[in-house]
Subunit: 230 residues, 2 copies
DNA sequence: CGGTATCCCCCGCGATACTG
DNA sequence: CAGTATCGCGGGGGATACCG
């Protein structure tokens, strides 16, 4: 995108911020992603060459800092400027949550993205010792993207797209839309259970304590996101 | 710009906000512009067809409302959603003011745009009765865009690009960059006068009271902008 | 894993002209 | 003043392959 030839601070800001994908890259960094492939996971439709390009231009703009430890993998961080810009991303997200709901299309409800988000936000500190496996089934999506397993072990959470072969402790069955709407706070577990549009079955403790371990989107509870900016 | 195929509120917000020119149109509306040609004045590099297109898509998105009184000219207003989005624009502007200064190029310092901004922010309530003419000369820019006259009469402020033929009460001579930097708060009248990079001559009362009638960019004093949002 | 390199398409956008 | 119509291009960006 070319510039606007305006000294106005909005124009100068937009020359950086309004590049395609840029807010989503910053969002990823605010959510804790540091590595190239983490950004790819969070933005699967973005081509790697474009991601590379954007990271470079954001580095150039002083928004992102690249750290290449010798031998280690490269990592990307927000600078102070980038964290300030993160506040703009938060505002945009809150606006989207409030005002852009009606623009959500069937195509937006990508369950892979949803699971990637959920995985990152799960709080396993209260989980029982030993392995815990939670499965999610989305009968509405094509078979190859329908099933996901969160495997929790020793405080680590892995997202599997193939059946990992372990016993399942808790199973969610619902549409990707219902699950995402719960995630964003547009509806609740309770409502959807009552509607029979969601089924949760398995370990009663795990099911009963869902409010303890299932954390919603950071935009539903943006204070947590803000903490990461400071 | 196509969508992102993500339910994430940032993505949905960006699908609207990150369109080229969109933040600048919203900025114009926040600053009080309502008419098609006012938007053109504030964004002279934007083609009318693209402006028309954007206004339509923003209307479609529920951000802007078009009101066509019969017989009257059409006027555009921000909806509640639009005013909320305005807060994102403000944030982006504040970010730009703080972090994007180094990206300002010679090309950005368009004096016409600057004068358009200054005109809109002048407070003439304390001006003497009768006509007051204030001229601005920017020797650094090509002759056809070098000179401007603010003609204040009966509380109205007109911006002229041709010598209006009246006596001049106060004359500013400086570069477009210095004037814009003052406008944005990067420097001050006092500093530039001392540097001899700015000359202000004419009526002593008008010159002495400059802090009363010359208002800076809304991004330098964003509370005023916020008031317009509520 | 962490990127580059290439190719090519498409359409966003700028420019200009025109109309009521 | 308030837009619409048309045209053409440039390059942004999607897809894919490839490399260290």
């Amino acid at each position: 995108m070319k510039g606007y030839s305006q000294f106005c601070p909005v124009a100068k800001g937009a020359e950086i911020f309004n590049e395609r994908w840029t807010p989503l890259i910053i969002r990823e960094m605010m959510c804790g992603s540091k590595r190239f492939n983490e950004f790819k996971h969070g933005n699967p439709m973005m081509s790697p060459s474009l991601l590379s390009q954007r990271l470079k231009s954001l580095e150039q703009a002083g928004v992102v800092e690249k750290k290449c430890g010798k031998g280690e993998s490269a990592e990307y961080f927000l600078t102070e400027s980038g964290r300030d810009l993160g506040e703009v991303v938060v505002r945009l997200g809150l606006w989207g949550l409030k005002w852009a709901r009606s623009r959500l299309t069937r195509d937006d409800y990508d369950p892979q993205l949803l699971m990637w988000d959920i995985r990152r936000r799960i709080d396993v500190s209260g989980f029982p010792a030993g392995r815990v496996v939670i499965s999610f089934m989305f009968p509405d999506v094509p078979a190859n993207r329908r099933a996901y397993w969160l495997v929790v072990d020793r405080g680590e959470v892995d997202l599997c797209v193939k059946y990992p072969g372990f016993d399942i402790d808790l199973e969610f069955i619902t549409t990707s839309k219902v699950m995402a709407d719960i995630w964003m706070g547009y509806t609740t577990f309770r409502k959807e259970l009552r509607n029979k549009t969601l089924s949760v079955s398995g370990d009663r403790e795990l099911k009963g304590g869902i409010d303890d371990w299932f954390n919603y989107s950071v935009f539903y509870d943006p204070e947590e996101l803000r903490k990461s900016l400071s």
